[in-house]
């Protein structure tokens, strides 16, 4: 297995997806704004889609199923982004901030 034939190997894609997932988790934990967390969630969804497509290409008997599943993940992600961003805008209008530390009603 040489470096140049990595694209024909299932594990390459799995490692890549794991790294992207890790980046998404890191961003989700450390980001202080709602939009930053949304961006990290998109990274996690992309990692999940890469896993689906990799198994679809290398092991699944019917290679249409994974592609259809990835298309549905895309549709759900688009809906999630639209709803999430309008919630962010509504929060911003009420609190004048989208920092997660500022979004508290109670003192404490």
């Amino acid at each position: 297995m040489s470096t140049l034939s990595l694209y024909n190997n299932l594990n390459t894609f799995l490692y890549l997806a794991a790294l992207l997932f890790g980046m998404g988790v890191y961003g989700l934990v450390t980001r202080r704004t709602l939009i930053g967390m949304l961006i990290s969630a998109e990274l996690i969804l992309a990692a999940a889609s890469i896993n689906f497509m990799a198994f679809n290409r290398f092991t699944a008997p019917d290679p249409t199923v994974g592609q259809i599943f990835t298309l549905f993940i895309m549709a759900i992600a688009a809906a999630e982004a639209a709803i999430g961003l309008s919630i962010v805008l509504a929060v911003y209008r009420n609190y004048k901030s989208i920092d997660t530390e500022d979004l508290v009603e109670l003192q404490g």
Binding site: L4, S5, L14, L16, T59, A78, D99
Partner: protein, 182 residues
């Protein structure tokens, strides 16, 4: 690309397979660098730009996985729609990260890194130690076959997802309009 022929011997750099492998390495680097920018950039506008770069890389990975149709949808939906929507929200909400460290404290960075590292390490070890059975393909997974499957076996899911998208659009409009003053 031949869908089901694993390359056993090392290809030379200036053969078709070797150049394909080189392009794959470049796009893999693009994906990872884009992801790094998206999760670590200080300013959110740069994070969105990194997300865009990352999604272009992911689209090319889909192309390498024999799915040009999904690659095109990735470019259209993620790069063209989702990233632009996030960019609009950043411009509307103007979230400058003024304070560096809140009550989460300076510990949140290292702790987040450790969490992500453990998760990534676990996933990689699991992928390394699992033997995945390879089954014979029943079709080639072309765009035509995707269309046939979408309108026969998965037609119910197809309709439901369009309803979900419709509700999402209406919900987004209602939420974004609600507190609007004049």
């Amino acid at each position: 690309m031949n869908p089901s022929m694993p390359i056993t011997e090392a290809p030379g750099l200036f053969t078709a397979d070797g150049l394909t492998g080189l392009i794959f390495l470049v796009m893999m680097a693009v994906t990872l660098i884009g992801g790094l920018i998206a999760c670590c950039a200080e300013r959110l506008v740069r994070a969105v730009a990194g997300l865009m770069v990352c999604f272009v890389g992911v689209a090319s990975l889909y192309y390498f996985l024999n799915s040009p149709f999904v690659a095109m949808m990735q470019m259209l939906i993620y790069v063209g729609a989702v990233c632009i929507t996030i960019a609009f929200a950043i411009m509307l909400a103007a979230p400058e990260e003024s304070k560096k460290n809140g009550p989460a404290g300076p510990l949140s960075g290292p702790l987040g890194f450790i969490t992500a590292g453990i998760v990534t390490f676990g996933l990689i070890v699991m992928a390394l130690n699992t033997k995945f059975p390879i089954l014979a393909k029943v079709n080639q997974g072309t765009a035509k076959e995707i269309g046939i499957q979408l309108l026969t076996q998965y037609s119910m899911v197809f309709e439901l997802i369009s309803i979900v998208l419709l509700i999402a659009i209406i919900g987004a409009l209602v939420l974004a309009r609600a507190g609007r003053s004049k």
